[in-house]
Symmetry: C2
Subunit: 132 residues, 2 copies
Amino acid sequence: MTEPQQAAWLDAIAFGPDGLVPAIAQQHDTGEVLMLAWMNRAAVAETIASGRACYWSRSRSRLWRKGETSGQVQRLVELRLDCDGDALLLRVDQQGVACHTGRRSCFFRAARDGDWPTIAEPLIDPKQLYRE
Amino acid sequence: MTEPQQAAWLDAIAFGPDGLVPAIAQQHDTGEVLMLAWMNRAAVAETIASGRACYWSRSRSRLWRKGETSGQVQRLVELRLDCDGDALLLRVDQQGVACHTGRRSCFFRAARDGDWPTIAEPLIDPKQLYRE
């Protein structure tokens, strides 16, 4: 698409005052919710251009090409926008694990009787992911 | 649970500077991502107490008991917390439709060649939901 086309297309997204929108990553075939991250305009543009999920890291204040360190990339299958335009859903094909703890999904704690027990174990040692 | 137990349990959630965390609602059996909303401490407490999703409406600045006007309630099946504690996943049983447009999911627009075509039609007339 041309630059003006892309600009108009990105304008449909209602980025917040901080320039970010929440982005849900979901495994496209199983439906598993893998993680929630944040995207700015540049992250959305790069994700579409590269076909791989790119987020905005709020802790590092820079673009975060998912898997750049760990190798656990997310191939984009489909990008969806919600009714208000202020949330994104990325249907992805997750290579390996989404969570930095080595678990498939970041949502591995469940509310149970006033506690948050862990309901999923790591599939990969995080040391292997990040060569600490 | 006792009040101190509940306070400690809620303390595990890293609410943002505005007192909110993003909350994903997912249909528990099909895996469909229905919507993204926001919760404050009171919304989480009420959701657990009532067994029905209660959010914080940023536009109305008040608790939003999902379905209070439309009847389209979300029964809570499981509440999950992510690795950083700053995002929630509600596995729910959605009565009817999640979206105020009458669609099952709020994520009904998909990125296609520089456009956001609608990929799902309303199942219910919004006029019926809100008796406009």
